[in-house]
Symmetry: C2
């Protein structure tokens, strides 16, 4: 049996990957756990320990070949393919997410947008037509979409989630300010900007 890799370790891999991409854009070809740690504000020991869960990727004396480590991390995170993403909610937030350019380079493409507002259904966000949530299950099943983003009001979020799970979605990025209940095997990450702000105001007089 594979050793159980801590979830907190998995959560840092995308951060490492992001910084490696940046380093490469800056023209570097090799880096070290020390350099990476400096840039990320993480100890070099932690980086080496995290990576060692997955294999030896570096070379004593020289460090890590950036392109190679990048490629390996992408494989580990299953980013050696593009994930289609369903977006539910075509309000301000949903539309901003749909237009956001930051997903494409990082393995994700929003290909379907759903809403329940007749005024929005049929409209376009970029070149994607907003579809009715009534056809959501059918569409998601047909295409085999496994990743979704929920950008609907809190009151609708659980219901939408249930429908997504029903349709076969296994990873949900939740922007609604409530904790979603999902069955075993379905993953949820929560983005709550106000909570982050509140975390910081603790430290302000």
């Amino acid at each position: 049996m594979t050793p159980e890799i801590p979830d907190i370790v998995i959560g840092r891999l995308p951060i490492y990957l992001r910084e490696l991409t940046l380093l490469r854009e800056e023209g570097y070809e090799v880096t070290s756990s020390h350099e990476l740690g400096q840039r990320l504000g993480i100890s070099s020991a932690q980086i080496r320990k995290d990576l060692s869960w997955f294999g030896p990727f570096g070379k004593q004396g020289t460090g890590y070949a950036i392109a190679y480590l990048q490629e390996q991390l992408k494989k580990i995170l299953h980013l050696d393919r593009e994930w289609q993403v369903a977006l539910v909610g075509a309000g301000d937030l949903g539309r901003a997410l749909a237009r956001y350019g930051g997903f494409a380079h990082r393995g994700f493409r929003i290909t379907r947008i759903f809403d329940n507002d007749p005024a929005k259904i049929g409209s376009y966000v970029g070149n994607i037509k907003v579809l009715s949530v009534r056809v959501m299950k059918e569409e998601i099943e047909r295409i085999g979409i496994q990743v979704a983003m929920v950008a609907v009001p809190a009151a609708a979020a659980q219901q939408v989630t249930d429908a997504l799970v029903e349709a076969g979605v296994r990873a949900i990025l939740n922007y609604a300010p409530i904790v979603l209940a999902v069955p075993e095997g379905v993953h949820v990450q929560h983005i709550d900007p106000a909570a982050h702000l509140q975390h910081m105001t603790y430290y302000l007089g």
Copy 2:
């Protein structure tokens, strides 16, 4: 000297607060660490331990008076006042953040928006006029704004951050996909949706 309260504990307080607000909206007046834990997917022991850093808020046998605990958590997080927030970047994301209704109830109000694009400067997002970053320092200093959100491209984010810090900002919510360097005493929280998605795809076949 006050005992050093772990940052990870502080980070959970906004989550507790959010759930308490929800419970109250649902008509409850009293809750327990068990009920709260159930709803949040956190152990009741952890909730009691976290709260005990700040004082006894409950009553044996009955639990917590929601309104009271809410009020106390707000005080602890310095949410017994409204924080003005400066937003830098009036692109799709910035505009969505400015229009987002979720900040108002939770202690924050975006009152200034800055951009460096002449095409955007002078335009309105809701009823807020987009100002030039050239007047940013002056404006932020004058009003005494301490909290900011950065929604500019990665390439500009560090420069913008330096200017914000220079102007006296002490808490920054960063939407750019880079790690920001800030001096001691300035707080940064990072929102990186792609990283969250990548975290989850690890678990998808």
